[in-house]
């Protein structure tokens, strides 16, 4: 029995070693190493003011070591950004920007990553209270990377920035520019994920400004334009319908706004799976109307 148990143990150990060796240079090992350093980063990020400069340098060194060790790994791309973040925490904004900009140079084909790196350059200027420089970077992101997640969210981010600062005039202008940007993008990229996301951002622009009727119109347009697209999945459609209902019932106090959108959808796609659901919505609104029930928001 002892001999057999030794054979079992040897097989288990051998298999473990064999499979470990096969993936010695794989991304998994990089992920493991990065996770450990990221944990340290999270600790430092909790209260950067309480951390000595030496700790920042050690952390940066750890990221740099992983980058040097696995230069071809895809996972390392994220490590570059985190390396820049370490210098942001250290308030060494110049070095942080150098690190972020090196990502743009190193991975010019990865638009999403480059846009993300540029956004962080913009943030570094913001942290340094250099808004004009930050604005310049953000505008370049909109121009150079309009079809990335960062590029698409930046116009709304800029408008939100001014709104939060109570800078009414600039906020109005930024919203107007954002609306124009998203409208153009939606028109230029119909039936694509970019067009779909552009419409969602457009609706958010109107919602941010309490322009309820226009927001409902855009949400209705999205439902109708992307009715047969996989982009309009159940959770997204549900969220849009709920938003339309809320706006109609509570903000506009005009149920017909929602009913009209749903009627338009049913007329265009009578056999669509959503149509029966929307018909139920119409029936519910009609019943509320007949009974004279005024719906108030949940507390």
């Amino acid at each position: 029995m002892r001999k057999n148990l030794l054979i079992y143990a040897a097989i288990l150990a051998g298999l473990f070693i064999f499979l470990s060796i096969l993936d010695l240079k794989g991304d998994y090992v990089v992920e493991q190493k990065l996770w450990k350093v990221n944990r340290l980063y999270a600790e430092v990020a909790k209260d950067p003011n309480a951390v000595s400069g030496k700790t920042f340098d050690q952390l940066a060194k750890k990221y740099q070591r992983i980058i040097n060790q696995y230069p071809k790994s895809d996972v390392v791309q994220g490590a570059y950004l985190l390396l820049g973040e370490v210098y942001l925490l250290k308030k060494d904004y110049k070095t942080a920007r150098e690190k972020f900009e090196s990502v743009v140079v190193k991975y010019p084909d990865n638009k999403e990553l480059a846009a993300e790196a540029k956004a962080r350059v913009g943030r570094s200027y913001e942290l340094e209270n250099k808004w004009p420089e930050a604005l310049k970077v953000y505008r370049s992101i909109i121009k150079e990377y309009p079809l990335t997640n960062v590029g698409m969210s930046t116009p709304l981010f800029l408008a939100g920035h001014y709104k939060n600062k109570n800078d009414y005039q600039n906020a109005m202008q930024a919203y107007a520019e954002a609306i124009q940007f998203y409208r153009n993008l939606a028109n230029q990229n119909p039936d694509t994920v970019f067009g779909f996301n552009a419409l969602r951002f457009l609706a958010n622009c109107y919602l941010d400004q309490n322009r309820w009727k226009e927001a409902v119109d855009v949400l209705g347009e999205t439902l109708i334009s992307y009715a047969h697209s996989s982009l309009l999945n159940v959770p997204r459609a549900d969220l849009m319908i709920k938003t339309i209902n809320m706006i109609a019932a509570f903000q506009l106090k005009d149920n017909d706004v929602a009913v009209n959108v749903y009627r338009k959808f049913i007329d265009k796609y009578p056999a669509h799976p959503l149509s029966s659901y929307l018909q139920k919505m119409i029936d519910a609104f009609t019943k509320l109307e007949q009974e004279g029930v005024q719906v108030s928001p949940q507390k």
Partner: protein, 290 residues
């Protein structure tokens, strides 16, 4: 090996079972072989998100849980679930047979016969189909009970109370899930306690084994239940450890989830060894008395 003194006393029977394992460690070998198979599967699953196994497991994990679970440390979140799935065929086709082999060994030792693992396998093998059928029946019942408990969990999730009796019920149902599962395992092991000894010792077919099992179980139900329950309670610390795994893994390192699974496999070797030895010894004693 069996002593009439133990009669229907739980602890003396369990003590005798442990003594039998210490004196005849060969009985543990089938259980260690089960653990070996489980650990091989666990190792393969541990490496399932890495080259070259990711080529096979990647699409499956991506489809069931999403891309994120192919990467460290989220791969450890799906490892226990994957291992649980993999244990079903292991239990039905391998573990049940090896438990039966252990029972053959106990019966042979009880009759003062010389036995080794290979000859015990040879003796049990002709009954393989019936052993597998018995395993399938007990698994199906376990599955049905789990589904019923799943409905209870679904209902509990709908309870909106933040305090009071309903909140207490909700928390018991939700937090108690692993312990209820353990209890279900104990009940099902008790329910089919004598099926395997009857199949391999008496050479009966599955149907008559089931009938004889329920006959033997008549008036012994609570006794067998306690015989199964007490050693199984050893598993509770492992369950507590596994329930608190998110916190523990966050404090130490995510790979600790893998170590916890190894620990649970090793615990089960001891528990199964004691439980099935005790059940077989009690069955042999009952048979001698009759």
């Amino acid at each position: 090996m069996t002593s009439k003194k133990t009669g229907k006393q739980v602890f003396p029977l369990l003590r005798q079972s442990i003594n039998a394992l210490v004196v005849n460690p060969i009985i543990l070998f089938p259980f260690l072989t089960i653990a070996f198979f489980q650990l091989v599967i666990l190792e393969i699953l541990y490496f399932s998100t890495r080259f070259p196994l990711v080529a096979f497991f990647g699409p499956l994990i991506r489809r069931l849980w999403g891309e994120g679970y192919l990467h460290y440390p989220f791969n450890f979140a799906v490892l226990p679930m994957l291992f649980q799935f993999a244990q079903i065929p292991i239990y039905i086709f391998v573990s049940s047979f090896l438990i039966a082999v252990a029972m053959v060994m106990i019966a042979a030792i009880n009759n003062d016969q010389n036995i080794n693992f290979r000859s015990a396998c040879r003796k049990a093998f002709p009954q393989y189909v019936h052993i597998v059928l018995a395993a399938i029946i007990s698994f199906v019942i376990f599955y049905v009970l789990s589904k019923i408990y799943g409905v209870a969990i679904w209902r509990a999730l709908k309870i909106g109370s933040k305090s009071g009796i309903f909140f207490m019920i909700k928390m018991i149902v939700l937090r108690g899930a692993p312990y209820f599962n353990l209890l279900m395992g104990v009940v099902i092991t008790t329910l089919f306690a004598f099926v395997l000894p009857i199949i391999v010792i008496e050479k009966k077919k599955i149907l008559s084994a089931l009938i004889l099992n329920f006959k033997s179980l008549w008036r012994s139900w609570w006794f067998i239940f306690l015989v199964v329950l007490f050693p199984t309670l050893l598993y509770v610390p492992v369950l507590i450890l596994r329930n608190n795994m998110p916190v523990i893994a966050n404090t130490f390192f995510p790979g600790i989830k893998f170590l916890a699974l190894i620990l649970s496999v090793l615990f089960m070797v001891v528990i199964d060894g004691v439980v099935y030895t005790a059940i077989t010894m009690f069955y042999l004693l009952k048979r001698e008395n009759q």
